[in-house]
Structure formats: C-alpha cells, structure tokens
C-alpha cells in the first residue's frame, strides 16, 4: 500500500500474480516489438523491391560486430546476475554486477561509434544508398535504446539504490523491470546482427 492507496506496487496481485510495474514494462516491450517490427518490415520491403542489395558482410565489419554481440550477451547475463544477487540479499554483489552491465553497455556503444566513424571516413553516409540508410536507422535507434538503458541502470546503481534499505521488495521489482528492458534490447540486437551483417 503506497501513500495514495495504489495496491500491488511491490506485492503481486492475488489473481493476476504480477505487480503493476511488471505488467507495465511488458506492455511497453510489446509496443517496442511493434516499433522495431515496423522498421524490420520496412527493411524487408525495401530489400524486396530493390533491384540489387549488397551483402552485409562486404560492407560491414563482421568480426567487430560478432565481438559486439558477445559483449551485449555478457551484459545481459550480468544484468540477470544482478537481479539474482538481490534475490540472495547480497547488495554488494548486486552493485558489482550492475556496474559490469553498465560498463559492457558502454563498450558496446564505443564499438558502435568506432564502426560509425569508420564508415563516415569512407563517405558511407545514410544518404549513400538504401542499405546504409536502413543500417544507420536500425542500429542508430537500437543504440539510442542502449543509451536509455545505460542511463536508467546508472540511476539504479547510485541514487536509486537508496530504495534498497527502505523497501527491498520494491527495489528488486524495479531491477527486474530494468532487466526485462535490457534483455529486450539484447533480443533486438540478436535479430539485427544476422539481418544486417550476415545476410
């Protein structure tokens, strides 16, 4: 029971079995699925109607992207470990795992910016052709989502963690939701990587 009487904030609803925030984050992820779905369907339509479509591996650096994928998967794991250590009431382990997640995300963004810089040097801009256009749009929007995740996670690492002492249950729920968002961002990259780089 929070201050203005809204129930099921930290305790799950007896019938539906979920807390408000978990249902809310899943609804948000549903809309994100439709957002990236719209961009993927644009990709498919553009590729189908294009007379010639370059091979991703010819224009893009696949080994670097593979490393990037592994970095993002590792950050997904450290995120779920952070949540698990909260479940084990081990706050210090949580802080280490959360820091690792943020660090890995920054590595991912760094690799991405290196990749972008490399392309801009060779005058491959979004306006060069439709392949680069959809490549920059998809990876750019995904990058923005990664950045958003980093900002939220940093909040939970420093100022947000004060809630741990006041209401551990609610804080664990928040970290779970941040985790769900983060795994979703990783999920999108899991599809982006083969579609853009390997096909």
């Amino acid at each position: 029971m929070s201050d203005n009487g809204i129930r099921y904030i930290s305790k799950p609803h007896p019938v539906t079995g979920v807390t408000n925030s978990k249902l809310g984050i899943w609804c948000f992820l549903a809309s994100e699925v439709m957002l990236f779905g719209g961009l993927f369907s644009a990709y498919v339509l553009l590729r189908a109607s294009a007379p010639s479509w370059p091979h991703g591996s010819d224009l893009l650096n696949v080994p670097l992207a593979t490393l990037n994928t592994l970095v993002l998967i590792t950050s997904s794991v450290t995120m779920v470990m952070a949540w698990a250590s909260l479940a084990l009431k081990d706050f210090s382990k949580y802080k280490r795992y959360m820091a690792a997640t943020i660090l890995l995300a920054l590595v991912f963004l760094a690799v991405k910016s290196v990749e972008y810089a490399h392309k801009f040097e060779h005058h491959h801009f979004p306006s060069t052709n439709t392949f680069y256009a959809i490549y920059f749009t998809l990876t750019g929007l995904h990058g923005l989502h990664v950045l958003g995740g980093v900002v939220v996670n940093t909040y939970f690492l420093f100022p947000g963690s004060a809630l741990w002492k006041k209401d551990p249950e609610q804080f664990k729920g928040r970290i779970e939701c941040a985790g769900l968002y983060w795994h979703f961002v990783d999920l999108v990259w899991i599809f982006l990587f083969p579609v853009l780089y390997l096909l």
């Binding site: 201050d3 203005n4 009487g5 809204i6 129930r7 099921y8 609803h13 539906t16 979920v18 408000n20 925030s21 249902l23 809310g24 609804c27 948000f28 549903a30 809309s31 994100e32 439709m34 957002l35 990236f36 779905g37 719209g38 961009l39 369907s41 644009a42 339509l45 553009l46 109607s49 294009a50 007379p51 801009f125 979004p126 306006s127 060069t128 052709n129 439709t130 256009a133 959809i134 920059f136 749009t137 929007l141």
Partner: protein, 576 residues
C-alpha cells in the same frame, strides 16, 4: 497523516499544474483537448471562406495574416493546404483522442473500477506534458518562415519529403503525440487489469471501461509502426536517405539528388496500419459514453451487454487487417483488393451489432430526454450515416469513382463530427456534475443541441452530392474544373452552416463556465445511476474512495423487480 490532508498542503503548481491526481490530469487533458478542438474548428472556418468564395478577400480577418498566407485578404494555395493538413492533424491527434481517451478515460476509468488513482501517476502526468509539447510543436509550426505542414494529415511522401520545414516540425510533434498516447495506454491497461475493486470481475465492468480497455490496446500496438514510419521520414528529410523516394525523380525541372530505391507505398502501408485502428480509437470511447448515458436515462440495462463486449474485442482484432482499403487505387491487383474488401465487410458486422444493441436498449425503457440523452440519441443515426456511407467506399468497384472525393470527407466527418464529438458533448453534460458538483443548465444545453444537430447536417450532407459529382478533395478552388462547377453553390450553403455551427457552440461555452457559478448544486448521484463513480462524492477527493469499494452486481441494474428504487448501485450490499 491520511492521504486527504496530505493533498491540501501541496503548493499550487504541484496540485494543479504538475499534479499526480488522475482527476486533475483528466481535466487538464479535457480543457486542452477542447481548446484544440476549437482551434481546429477555426482553421476549418477559414477554409470554408475560400471554398465558398474562391479568390475573394476575407473581409476583416484577412488583413491580419502575413504576406505568405494571405495577400490583401485573398488566401494563397500554400496557406489553404496548411489549413487542411493542420485541421486534420489537430482535430484527430490533438482534439478528439486526448479528449476521449486522455480526458474522459483518465478521469472516469479509476472511478468506475473503484481505484484510488491510475497505476502509474508519474507516468500519467508525463504523458500529459509530452502531449502538451506535441501540441506546442504543432502550433509553433504555423510561425515558421514557410508555414506549417501542408501535405495533408496523411503527409504522403514524396510530396511530404520535398515539403518545407513545417513538415519536419510536424513529424517531431507527431513523435511526441505518439509517445504520449503510448505511455497513456500502458497506464490504462495496467490500471484496468490490476486495480479493479473487490468483486468487479471483467464482465461486471461498465461498457465504457471495456471500450477504453480495447482502445488502449489499439493505441499500444498500432501507434509504434507510425512512429517507425515517422523516424524513416525524418531520416529522409534530415539525413538525405530515400526510404520513400524512388530513383529518377525530377522536381521542378531538376533531377533530385537522392540515392533512390525507396517506395512511397511503404509510408502509406505503415501510416494506414496505424490510421485504421486510430479511427477505431476515435469511435470506441464515444460508444462507451453513449452506452453509459443510455443505461442511466432509459432506466433499464443495456441490451446484449455480452454481445457488445465481444463485438468490441472482435473490432479490436479486425481493425488491424483492413488498412489497405484506403489504398485500393495504388495499383494493387484484384486478388489483394478482394482480400481487403472481404475484411472490410467483416469489420462492418461488429459495428452494426454495437449500433443495433444500443438502439434496442431504448426498447422497454423509460426514456428521460435530458441534454446528455439527446446528444447520445443523436449519435445513433449520425454514426449510422457515417457507417453506411462507408459501404460504397469499402467496395473497390464503387471506390474507383468515389475515392479521394468529397464523398470520403462526408463519410469520415459523419463518423467523427456528429458521431464522436456529439458523444463527447453527451459525456460532458453527463459527468459535469461529478467533476464540479454542479449541474449544467438544461435550457442552454437543449439550445446547443438543436442548433448543432441541424447545422452539422447542413455542413456534411451536401458533401455526398459533391462526392458523387466527382469533386476531388483538398481542392483550393474547385471552379477550375468543369465537373465541379455545378456543385459550387453547395459550398456556400455548407460554409454558412459551418459558421453558424461555430456560433451555435457559444451556448455550450457559456454553459460550461457559467454553471461553475450558477449551476444547481448536486449530491454524489444526481442522475440516480448505478456505476461506481456515482458512489464517490462529487467532486471526488484525492484518492476517490475512503475504502476500496465492494462490488456485488453488474453495472446496469436498473428497474430490478422487487426493488424500492429503480436503480441498484453496484457497491450497495443490501437492496435499495
């Protein structure tokens, strides 16, 4: 310190401007929505001058505009196209949806399900202010050097891609509005699923809450593809990509330096993938309001509550597979147009069921002709005309002649203007006592109703005649076409009706502000209704109910045999 005292010592700006209370946010949405409706109405009244008297200077107001819009009072085509595009955008995205979903939904859903507030109050406040930013962006685009967006509210590329800077501001405004509706819909779904009172099962929910629930799913799942399309168009306009620009374009004699390879139909598909569920977002809350007003004023339960709920859910699913009936003429083959004709015919069935169920709810009732009831009754035939005129547009054969003519404009305005907006008027008159504790004047209300119902038909009925004659839409001056000249006098009639309709809203405006002072004071249940919002005091305090209410029966238990009163509120344990 209980919640009630806590809210009293909030500073003014925390209590009214950046409030977390769903009722204050509902009123904020309501007032902003009504202001934008009025602003969109004024844009239309300007357009009506050019349509009725093409090329003649606008008497007084004409010289207020800058040289780029009106030269010596004579409207320029650029300004006319801006008015057309912004009238559509403002009425749909800034007027009706925020009023129907943001205003009515935010205020009433928590009350009708017995919840103290929405599930995420901060998210609720943020969704209002993101909507507000979107509105500011749309209005600011008028003051750009080359004016606002001018390629229609559908902004089809390549025209939208090569348009002036107003289109970029329109896209940014749209991204804000879409984000606001998205956050709002998450709030609604979680509130309706999680915070229902004890004993309030899904099939005891008032139909208004069902309508808002399905509307929230449409907003949640249909808006993001348009956001994706908006991102693509922003990239086209700012980063020089060519998602929607095919190669080999020659504009004004010069070949366009774009990488080409894009497909303009991609935008149309993504836009209409949203825009058809969007039109159901416009109509479902209106049907919810009409159902509530009907039950209360016929003193009997709604006919076929379960069949209406199933139709609304079926409508929600079907609305996602009909979008291409807006694109019959883009060169699609007979096979594809047949598929979308069939789905369009199928989707007309739940709408007919909903309309028939509402009409049959009158049978056997004891009908009180109060102002909300008058507007709700008028909704039925008006939405009926809107729906019926959708038939010739839904069949590809007749759509060939009628597509993109004034017939289409008559069709969708009948659904939105005398349909949704009349239902919203009914809602304002019906719930004003709950929001302010005072009743609106019946005399002013009836004047407003009888003037509006006559004039609104005067504006939109002739559009079908223009449409059959083949007059294309969005024409700055239809006198240029021989096939459009005979119907030009009708435009004068329509314009006069439109201006008078503007005047007919004055009793409504006087009523809204006047009743705050001289309206009759009422208790918490002036209409003797059964749903939960009438169990809370009017206006309800922060937190709505003292304790979480207990619900014992369905939402519309009126004239139950063997009861003293002819209404049996949901939360009343023993008989009434």
């Amino acid at each position: 310190m209980s919640e009630k005292q806590h809210s009293h010592d909030l500073p003014f700006w925390r209590k009214y401007i950046f409030s977390l209370d769903h009722k204050v946010i509902g009123i904020q949405y309501g007032i902003t929505g009504l202001l934008f409706l009025f602003f969109g109405f004024c844009l239309m009244m300007l357009m009506r001058w050019q349509l009725a008297y093409p090329g003649q200077p606008l008497p007084v107001i004409g010289n207020l505009f800058s040289e780029r819009m009106m030269v010596g009072g004579i409207m320029l085509p650029e300004f006319y196209n801006q008015l057309g595009a912004m009238h559509g955008t403002i009425m749909v995205f800034l007027g009706v949806v925020p009023l129907a979903v943001g205003g009515f939904g935010n205020y009433l859903v928590p009350l009708q399900i017995g919840a103290p507030d929405m599930a995420f109050p901060k998210l609720n406040m943020m969704s209002y202010w993101v909507y507000f930013l979107g509105g500011v962006a749309m209005i600011a685009s008028f003051f750009l050097p080359e004016g606002a967006a001018q390629s229609g509210w559908t902004s089809y590329p390549p025209l939208a891609n090569i348009a002036a800077s107003g289109q970029t501001v329109w896209l940014i405004g749209m991204v804000f509005l879409i984000t606001s509706s998205l956050l709002g819909s998450i709030n609604f779904i979680v509130t309706i699923v999680q915070l229902r009172a004890e004993g309030l099962s899904f099939f005891r929910l008032p139909f208004f809450v069902w309508a808002q629930f399905v509307t929230s799913f449409l907003l949640l799942l249909a808006f993001p593809p348009l956001e994706a399309a908006g991102v693509l168009q922003l990239m086209d306009r700012l980063a020089g990509t060519s998602f929607f620009m095919p190669s080999g374009l020659v504009v004004a004699g010069k070949a366009l330096e774009v990488s080409g390879g894009g497909n303009p139909l991609l935008w149309q598909h993504l836009f209409w993938f949203l825009a058809h569920p969007e039109v159901y977002v416009l109509i479902l809350p209106a049907m919810g309001i009409v159902a509530e007003v009907f039950a209360t004023n016929t003193r009997k339960p709604i006919y076929g509550y379960k069949s209406m709920v199933c139709s609304v859910i079926f409508l929600g699913f079907m609305s996602f597979i009909v979008w291409a009936h807006h694109m019959f003429l883009t060169g699609m083959s007979a096979k594809m147009s047949s598929f979308f004709q069939i789905t369009t015919m199928i989707i007309s069935i739940p709408s007919v069921i909903l309309l028939t169920a509402l009409a049959l709810s009158l049978w056997g009732g004891s009908i009180r002709f109060s102002t909300p009831m008058l507007f709700a009754i008028a909704f039925l035939p008006m939405f009926g005309i809107g729906g019926l005129t959708g038939l010739p547009l839904g069949l590809a054969a007749s759509d060939i002649h009628l597509h993109d003519t004034y017939y289409v404009i008559g069709h969708f305005h009948y659904v939105v203007a005398p349909g949704t907006i009349f239902a919203l008027f009914a809602g304002v008159y019906h719930w004003y006592p709950k929001v302010t504790g005072r009743k609106m004047s019946e005399i002013l209300g009836k004047i407003h109703f009888f003037l509006s119902i006559v004039l609104i038909n005067g504006v939109f009925m002739p559009m079908f005649i223009l449409g059959l004659a083949g007059v294309s839409r969005r024409l700055y001056d239809q006198m240029q076409f021989a096939h459009a000249q005979p119907t030009q006098p009708l435009n004068v009639f329509m314009s006069v009706c439109a201006w008078l309709l503007g005047l007919a809203q004055i009793p409504f405006i006087i009523n809204i502000f006047g009743s705050l002072i001289w309206g009759k004071k009422v208790d918490n249940n002036p209409w003797e209704a059964t749903t939960l919002e009438w169990a809370a005091p009017s206006p309800p305090p922060h937190g709505n109910f003292d304790a979480v209410p207990e619900v014992y029966r369905g939402p519309y238990e009126y004239s139950v045999p063997g009861q003293k009163h002819d209404f049996w509120p949901q939360n009343m344990a023993k008989e009434n």
